[in-house]
Structure formats: C-alpha cells, structure tokens
C-alpha cells in the first residue's frame, strides 16, 4: 500500500518536473511520454526480437550460474581446504567489475550472445556458490550425525537432509544470482551488442533520443520488478514449507 503510494508520488513528481522543464528533456522525458513511446514500441516485431534475445540471454546465464554455482558451493563446503584457497579468488571475482573482460571476449568470440552469457553467468554464479557454501556450513552437526546414524546413502543425505536444510539459506543467493544475470546481460548489451533491450537503450542513448532510451529503460525496470516479485513469492513459499 505504502509502496504503491510512493511509486505514484514518484511518477507524479517526475511528470511535473519534466513538464515544467525542471529536469531537462535531454536527461529525462515525462512518464506519460515514455508510456506513449512504449505503446508504439512494444507491438513491433523488432521489440519482440529484442525482448526474446534479452530474456533468453538472462535465462541461459542464470541457468549456468545455478548449475555451476550450486555444485561449486557444495565442493567448497566438502573440501574446506579448496574453500580456503579459492575463497579469496571468488570474493575478488565478486568485487571486480567483470565487464572489463567484455572487449577481450568480444574479440575472441565475436559479436554474439556468447560473451554476454559468459560474463552474466560468471556474475550470477558467485553469489550462488558463496551462499550455498555458507548455508551448508551452517547446518547443525547433529543433522549430519542423524543422517549417518540411520545409514542414509549419500543421495539420501543430500536430497533428504542437506538441501532441504540449506534451501532457505541458499535462496537469497539464488535471488541475487538472478539479479546479477539481469544486470550483466543488460549492461553488456548496453555497451555493445547487435540486439536486445539493453542494446536499444544504449543505441538511443548515443543517438540522444532520450524518449526511446527511457522507454527501453522502463522495460528493464518493469522486468526486474516482475522477476523480483516472482522470486520473493517463491522464497516465501519455500520458507513457509521449510521452516
């Protein structure tokens, strides 16, 4: 309720400030104009292709992050020595702007979705791996003892004890991983790409076409809000079922 009120207030303020010229039209156009632009952009075939490209890139990057990040987290937990050795590298990877490698990857792989997927996936992977490791570490030793005492097989141990116990703790990392996949994808597209929502926003930015640039930015915002809402709902469900 309060959130919607804040949002409405924000839109009204933007509308007023842009219309009265308090914010220069070169920086930002009014929400009503963005909406008008969206109405004409969204139905086009080109928008469909851009959106499809961006969404598939995000999903592929996130899937890679998940499929590699969770086993990596498990490995870092299972082999504490590896965890100790690798952790500084991973944390550095976390802190470093990976996008610096983008030009190199473009040169090697060419101007396609490959370099973007690679960067977005590596950004997505890190929080997932780190939270998986931390979550597994924080499981009470008694649960290991219990699993052992009932002669659980390794498979049963993971599926019936470890993952259910760790899931509520891993989930925030997974959520962060998804957000990083979105950021990575859109940012790389913005810098240089042949297609995609981020690419269009960057294209119009360089064309000084503020209205269309904001229309595409609005698409990214709406997309992020939607995804976040879905993930938050999923997280609540998991927590309710598991805690």
């Amino acid at each position: 309720m309060v959130r919607w009120a804040i949002l409405a207030a924000l839109i009204v303020i933007l509308e007023v400030t842009t219309r009265t010229g308090m914010i220069s039209p070169a920086l930002m156009v009014s929400p009503s104009e963005i909406l008008a632009r969206l109405v004409s952009i969204v139905p086009t075939e080109r928008f469909g292709q851009d959106a499809a490209r961006t969404l598939t890139t995000i999903l592929i990057a996130f899937t890679i992050g998940l499929v590699l990040g969770i086993p990596l987290g498990v490995f870092l937990w299972r082999v504490p020595a590896a965890g100790r050795i690798l952790e500084p590298f991973i944390v550095t990877g976390y802190a470093m702007p990976t996008l610096l490698f983008y030009p190199v990857l473009l040169a090697v792989m060419g101007l396609n979705a490959g370099p973007i997927i690679l960067i977005a996936a590596s950004m997505s992977l890190i929080p997932i791996a780190l939270t998986t490791m931390v979550a597994l570490k924080s499981i009470k030793p008694i649960l290991h003892k219990l699993a052992n005492s009932v002669s659980a097989s390794p498979r049963q141990y993971y599926l019936k004890v470890l993952f259910p116990a760790a899931t509520p703790l891993i989930f925030p990392g997974v959520k962060l991983g998804f957000i990083y996949a979105v950021i990575g994808t859109v940012a790389m597209e913005f810098i240089l790409a042949a297609q995609g929502i981020g690419f269009r926003a960057g294209f119009y930015y360089r064309e000084l076409n503020t209205a269309d640039m904001w229309a595409y930015i609005a698409v990214v915002i709406v997309l992020s809000v939607l995804v976040n809402a879905v993930l938050t709902r999923l997280e609540k469900r998991i927590r309710r079922d598991m805690l």
Partner: protein, 275 residues
C-alpha cells in the same frame, strides 16, 4: 550388588559386547584419551544406563556402539558381528534436538523408515502408531517449530522406536528437559520398552533416572574413562510410580551417588557437584 566389569562373564552371542574398547582423539590441539579399556556387555533384553562425570567419554562410548566413531582400540560387536559403521538394527536418540524442522511430525517419525526404503503406506502406519505411543497423537501435521523441547525429544524417540531397533542408543535424551517432563517421559519410555525389550544403552547424568529405568548402571570414572563399577538394579519390573520410594531404590541411589561423587571430585575438585 556390584561387580568389577572385567570379572563378569563377557559376551553371549546376542549381546552388545565391548571388547577392551578405547578412544583417543588426536587433534592439532593435543591428544585426549576419552575412553580406555572398556569391556562389558549389554545382555539381550536389558536396559543399561551409563553415568559418569561430564566429559568422561559417555557420548564417545555411545557413538562407538552406534558406528559413528571408530574406536582407536578394541571393538564393539553386536550379535557376534563387529561394528564397522552404523547398523540398520540400531537406532539413536541424541541429546540435542535432531528433528528435521522442514518436516511434519509424521514425516520426522517416518524418516528412518523412509531411508530404509519402506513404502509410504507402511512407514506412515508405523509412524502413526509410534506417535500415539509417545503421546503426540493429534500433532502429526505439526512442524517441530511449533513443539516444545519435550515434544521434540518425543519425536526423536518415536523416530528411533519406529525403526524397531534391536539396539537402542540414547545419549542423555532428556537432558534438556525440566524435571517433571523428564520423569514423565521416562515412565513412558519404560512402559514402551516393557513391550519391545530391546537392548538399550542409555546415557544420563541423573542417578534417579538411571536407577528407575535400568537393569544395570555402569559408572564411568573420570578421564581416561573406564567402567569403574557395574551396579545391578535388582528392582522388580514393571516399576510403578511408587518405585522411587522403595528402600531398595534409595539404597541403590545412595550407592551410586557415592561412586559418582568420587569421580566428580577427581575432575572438578573436592566439594564439586555432579555436572
């Protein structure tokens, strides 16, 4: 009324047999001789309690029987087979809360059977019976978060009982409970055990509890621990509520107190109380 453990005839085939078992922990920080030269047996159908000062190696002993720890000396055998790891015919109850918080009471109690690969219908059937036995009927669909400490321990006991173990190992299962609850659950446990009559190794620091429940009480010495004395509890079974007031009960209790006090003073200094 008491015998030295080494003097006893050791090892009927169906017993849980300790053959000069010992455990030394070698950590970076130093070497701890937790258990040393324990020999003895839990005869078929007997309830054995172990008491001794805190840190003397009671949990270590139990974990070795459960196959969770490999003894550094000697061995344990059950039904004539050497224990090399967790066995399907033993079940354990731990001092800490070991319920799986994301599972319902029913699925917690069925957990051991589920791991054994028992079908859903069958394991739920046993689980429901055990839930009733431990007095948790009506709580099948609750999650541990909604239960008190005593109820969670009853879930853990029901889980162990549902596995129909031939050897039941309990490590201070009522340790975290208040006096009233532990007496109540103790009576319940005994009532259930009268029916199953499996071999029980029960660790406690409560002497009254040990006397009330057991056929034998093993008194462990301070570290490095040996079983210093085996006290046979010759109180008739079944043991109704008034058992605590019997003169024989008091006698056994006093005798155990005297034994334990000596050990507690060794670890903690004179005047110390049993931890």
């Amino acid at each position: 009324m008491s015998q030295s453990p080494t003097m006893r005839s050791i090892g009927h085939e169906n017993d849980v047999v300790f053959d000069n078992i010992g455990m030394t922990f070698d950590t970076g920080a130093g070497v701890t001789r937790a258990v040393e030269n324990v020999s003895g047996a839990i005869p078929e159908g007997k309830f054995v309690s172990v008491i001794g000062p805190s840190g003397c190696g009671k949990s270590t002993l139990l974990d070795m029987v459960g196959g969770l720890l490999k003894p550094t000396q000697g061995s344990v055998s059950i039904n004539g087979e050497k224990v090399t790891g967790p066995r399907r015919d033993t079940a354990m109850v731990f001092q800490e809360d070991s319920t799986l918080h994301w599972r319902t009471v029913l699925d917690n109690v069925a957990f051991g059977l589920e791991v054994k690969g028992i079908s859903k219908a069958e394991r739920y059937d046993s689980a429901r019976r055990m839930i009733e036995l431990v007095g948790l009927k009506g709580f099948e669909d609750h999650r541990p978060g909604q239960l008190s400490g005593g109820m969670k321990q009853r879930v853990a006991i029901a889980r162990a009982l549902a596995m129909e173990p031939r050897v039941l190992l309990m490590d201070e299962p009522f340790g975290a409970l208040d006096q009233q609850t532990r007496q109540f659950i103790g009576r319940e446990l005994l009532r259930i055990w009268e029916k199953t009559r499996n071999r029980v190794l029960f660790i406690t620091h409560d002497i009254q509890e040990a006397v009330y429940l057991s056929d034998e009480v093993w008194v462990m010495s301070a570290r490095p621990s040996i079983v210093k004395e085996v006290v046979t509890i010759d109180l008739p079974r079944p043991r109704p509520e008034g058992t605590h007031a019997l003169p024989r009960f008091r006698e056994l209790e006093d005798h155990l107190w005297a034994l334990v006090k000596v050990e507690a003073e060794k670890t903690l200094g004179p005047g110390a109380r049993l931890a």
